[in-house]
Symmetry: C2
Subunit: 258 residues, 2 copies
Amino acid sequence: MGDNKKPLILVTNDDGITSLGIRELISVMKSIGEVVVVAPDKPQSGTGHSITLEHPLRLKKINEDGNHVEYSCSGTPVDCVKLAVNVVMHKKPDLLVSGVNHGSNSSINVIYSGTMSAAMEGALEGIPSFGISLLDYAPDADFSAAKIYAKTIAENVLKDGVPRGTCLNVNIPALSKKNIKGVKVCRQANGNWLEEFDERKDPYGNKYYWLTGVFKNYDKGADTDEWALKNGYVSVVPVQYDLTAHDTISVLNQWSYE
Amino acid sequence: MGDNKKPLILVTNDDGITSLGIRELISVMKSIGEVVVVAPDKPQSGTGHSITLEHPLRLKKINEDGNHVEYSCSGTPVDCVKLAVNVVMHKKPDLLVSGVNHGSNSSINVIYSGTMSAAMEGALEGIPSFGISLLDYAPDADFSAAKIYAKTIAENVLKDGVPRGTCLNVNIPALSKKNIKGVKVCRQANGNWLEEFDERKDPYGNKYYWLTGVFKNYDKGADTDEWALKNGYVSVVPVQYDLTAHDTISVLNQWSYE
């Protein structure tokens, strides 16, 4: 590893280490600092804040050059962060960036997203962290605008950190840089998925199900990530791991528990 | 299924359908209403808000009597909730209860817990929901106090609902009912896990890792779940799925994004 004055940057994702989104992110982060990549060896979309307890974890060094090293990991994105800090680096990086995800992690997707859970795990460990996602699921999506904003936001985070107890959820509309209107700091839109299970029969006559569905935004606010993205802006939502609904404590204190 | 005037209660967990905690919970919920169980066919601890996208899901009816029916599911706790609502019940239950978990889901454990993620998924779908956990990992733990509080809280939730956008995270100290001092409505303590990976070699000479660690509570507050549990109280934390750190939006608006 090279110049010790450069920031140390941990990169991970949930689409897996071979996906285009993380390859593009690695190339940008190498222009800023020393890069350590620990990312899943297979797709881990939708794994949320899952950790692996029932199986042992494997790490494999797959690439190394002057200012970066890469490990593939058999576990989830959160496992990758824990292994990176405790086994690979033996210290905390200056920055954690997760992504670039193929597909949106706006609104309620933040809760299902392995990409965002990796960033959340970074925040929990006191590492300035953000996740970044492009609103394009295509394996060969155009990440050029995402790369520009990844760099800008990384530089901001390296300079100022992120507010304590939070990480950032950055989503990029599927537009060229010149058609993006700017950046909006937003709240998470109130939306969810309406599920439709695709029921099939296997060759032996037994039923099985694929989870599918459509996303529904119930939120009319112009201060949400959904609004920003729909209107051509990059959305930045500060995400916290204190899940307490503080405002409702007084309501629950009125109940009788005996 | 029996009397339609009884509340319809969905029961799930993350320890798997055969664990003692869910068996005890089912027996309590049968005393209140009609019970549908959709729970994992194997342990799913630490799976967080994971959903299954890479494999198809299987459901298997394993038990049925006058006022309850049980399905085991190949997926995660969140998958179980989605399948229960959309494939098994074709409607939303009046109450979702997840647990009784073997082991604490207080403080930051809420974020890793499949048990709590199932309750969160219920909340997202507009179902009054709570998760309940006993501070005892033993497979043959004594659930007698947990059963009493599960019933009391279920009755409260069926009567009053839970505050919009939240579910409840209930933790029970490993004490007999007479030694429990009461119930405290709390906030999530600020704590996390200090990881220690257990490195081993397989019979072929290749390294692998088991995730282990110790929980560290950084929070001195007497209004937290950790404080309540340590002092002999049941803790009830209202948990929300809006992860926005609203207070920090103004800070991030001071950044330059160009």
